[in-house]
Amino acid sequence: MNQHTIDLVNKQGLQFFGSVNASISHELKNIFAIISETAGFLNDLTQLSKQGKKFELSLLENCSNSIAEEIERGFDTIRQMNQFAHSVDHPIKETSIPDTLTLAVKLTGFLSYTKKTQIDASAADITVLTSPFLLQNLIYRTLCAVYKSMDTKDTLNIFFHEKDPDTVSLTFSWGSPLALKEFPDQHTTDVADALGAVISISDNSLDLTVGRANDSLSAALTGKKR
């Protein structure tokens, strides 16, 4: 990996970071909008009560439950934001594939074009020694491209397994045959190259093959050789 590639990936990384944070802020605004309207409705009920008008007590209960649910949704969102923010703490580390997939699916869940997605829960945890942030970036870009092309009613299934002792395979599988639009683009190719990942696409699935370790990436990002 040369300096040009590192600079390119760093620049794209910043764009990726900004893009994810924008979608999180959008989600938080929606949550605050619901809490705000519910608080406003409680105020409306208070004014009605002051005028001697009666209303069902269940309305108050519903409002209180709704606010509690939205606060929990907000905490969930902030937990994901925090987890994502910490993905830049270590340039290279042992990174869990299912944890990275789960976070990427949750983060893309804030996008308007997200689709129903299931990650194979039966597989044992697999880790790779890589850049968690770049891997998150590659999976996120892959999910976005697949979601944009998928039919609204289809479900995306994600499987992962150890292909051989040195590589891990992540398979994104959808129902109807489809042609992914403009994927992989240059940004995705750059990130995949930096990770040493290979992207293979067929009509019904997409495979990401990632090395269990990437010496050139480790050396480039940490300045150390294993």
Partner: protein, 120 residues
């Protein structure tokens, strides 16, 4: 005045409809662009309050469909985004945008100004 509120955030749109109703403005709700098109086929709405970003038909795409069905319909966009994204080569300079969270009084004032611009 026939109003439809369109947003995939069901709780938000339901609560907004209740609050408008308490202020004498009855509105239908739709949780997607597709549902809004179905309802607009049955009812000649005077005004639609649309979320910009929705799964399926986006707010701007819905605007085009609603205007095809009811050329005189007035539109107000509601967005959770800090800045308005212009998706595609469409001129949105005449569109009205309100940011979430909404102020109910501002929304009502905007509704009246949009329906009766001559009374400003």
């Amino acid at each position: 005045m026939k109003i439809i509120l369109v947003d995939d955030e069901k709780k938000f749109i339901n609560m907004l409809a209740k609050r408008l109703s308490l202020r004498g403005l009855n509105a239908d709700v739709a949780y997607s662009g597709e549902e809004a098109v179905e309802k607009a086929a049955q009812t000649p709405y005077d005004l639609a309050v649309l979320d910009l970003k929705m799964p399926g038909i986006s707010g701007f795409a819905l605007k085009r469909k609603l205007l095809e069905m009811h050329p005189k319909i007035k539109l107000i966009f509601v967005t959770g985004h800090g800045a308005i994204e212009n998706n595609g080569n469409h001129d949105h300079s005449d569109d009205i945008f309100l940011a979430k969270p909404l102020n109910i009084d501002t929304l009502i004032e905007t509704i009246h100004q949009t329906i009766h611009p001559d009374k400003q």
